[in-house]
Amino acid sequence: MSRGSGAIIAGAAETDQVGKLPGYSGLALHVEAAVNAVRDAGLRLRDIDGIATVSSPGPTQIAHALGITPRWIDGTGVGGTSFLLHVRHAAAAIRAGYAQTVLVTHGQSGRSRIGEAPFRLPPSSPTGQFEVPYGTFGPTTTFTITALRYMKEFGLTESQLAYVAVAQRRWAAKNPRAAYRDPITVEDVLASRLIAYPFHLLECCLVTDGGGALVITSADRAGDFPKPAVHVLGTGEAAEAPMISQLADFTESRAFRLAGQAAFAEAGIGVADVGHLMIYDAFAHVPIYGLEALGFVAKGEAGAFIADGNTEPGGRLPLNTNGGGLSYTHTGMYGMFAITEAVRQVRGEAAAQVESPDISVVLGNGGSFATAGVLVLGRQPR
């Protein structure tokens, strides 16, 4: 039996626009992305027999909206990395014969909040008892709280942290769909207003509206679609703590590491094989944690690695080539957009196309380092 998950991404697309879209509900963004992805695969909605999306609005709602009668359903909702897990679960379902052609959808009116459920944690939940009373206010106050510890342990400077945003803006400048495209400097980042010290505005992701969708099927159908198949070579998923205060070590992400190890092992690859990388970047420190967790650099080295230009245009490890959540778009659950950019790069149709990325790796985050998913995508089966 050959390596890999046995699945391919046959179709991938985003909504016609991303950004501020007050004319769309979250559900409508799912639907538009789904229709675009199915069309991208050269299929019709009736060809879809499996559906996966996050728990709200949920797979039943999406299937209903699209007129799909699924025989396989996945509503895994573990935050922004959920879609990476959906791809992994879909690959397993396809291997098992539970479904043949799975549609994975994302749509979120994260900025305009049209048709979105209010975000409220019960005050009796663990987070409601042990974190919310201290004035947490979304991910800007939780996801970020590990950074000072990392900075003290490894000497990461405020300028190096700021440079993550600078490097990604250089990619965004090449992407006409990116929300922010004007070049920025470290000084610009450090002069932007403090959101949650040590994080400034430009070190925090955007909040936008948009969606994306994928069509997953078995690799033996690789030649049956209009676009080049993107092989799902390896997949991994892991969880650590639902509360940021309970992470084992604030200088690393165990979930990132475990998900990465599983995906690399399934694909039978090492870091030297990777030509393109997407790391969920809700905040500027997350790519630093991701580079180290996946083994691209040793612990404590990622800040200098990025500041030395290795991940920006012309660098040896292109990272977050759509501009990322910091400059491209971030609906709240960004993982789908990391996958769609990796698919574009492997197909050779990205706005900021890099040279010959035979293998692209996507690392997704859910919650505040709570959950992780990793996909290894390739042009060829292994």
């Binding site: 009796s124 042990f130 004035g135 206010f137 709280i145 000072l148 959101i195 940021i244």
Partner: protein, 143 residues
């Protein structure tokens, strides 16, 4: 149990967390440890996260801690609008477990909040519960 519609959020205990909140009301930081492997842990759970034993017990921690990490939040949560930027911190108890908290009795500035500084617990009433907060413990009262 009353939960104010506005103002700072008030935790609502559950049966498995009630001993923690009872401890806070009595001015004690009570956390759990495993009776089998001896490991102290937080947040409250009925099973040891280290060895899986259900033989767990409550004990009173010293209340000594050190500052593990923090942010200073400039976009106040509902109920936190009045006091200016405030630190949301994670402290490491002398016994090992960590918890989120606020830092009182000290200016919430980067200059005044130095990682690993020694702290001690203090309790602040909110609604019907008392919340553990931490304050500097000069003289090296840390672990």
């Amino acid at each position: 149990m009353t939960v104010p519609i506005s103002g700072k959020p008030v935790p609502v205990p559950t049966p498995e967390t009630q001993p923690f909140w009872d401890g806070c009301a009595a001015g004690e930081l009570r956390i759990q440890r495993c009776a089998e492997c001896g490991k102290p842990y937080f947040d409250p759970r009925p099973v040891c996260p280290d060895c899986g034993s259900a033989d767990v017990e409550w004990f009173t921690a010293t209340g000594r801690a050190t500052l593990y990490s923090y942010v200073i939040n400039h976009r106040p949560a509902p109920g936190f609008e009045d006091g200016g930027p405030y630190a949301i911190a994670v402290v490491q108890l002398a016994e090992g477990p960590r918890m989120m908290t606020n830092l009182v009795g000290v200016p919430n500035t980067p200059e005044d909040l130095v990682l690993d500084m020694p702290l001690r617990v203090t309790f602040e009433r909110r609604g019907d519960v008392y919340l553990p907060m931490f304050t500097p413990a000069p003289g090296g009262a840390g672990p």
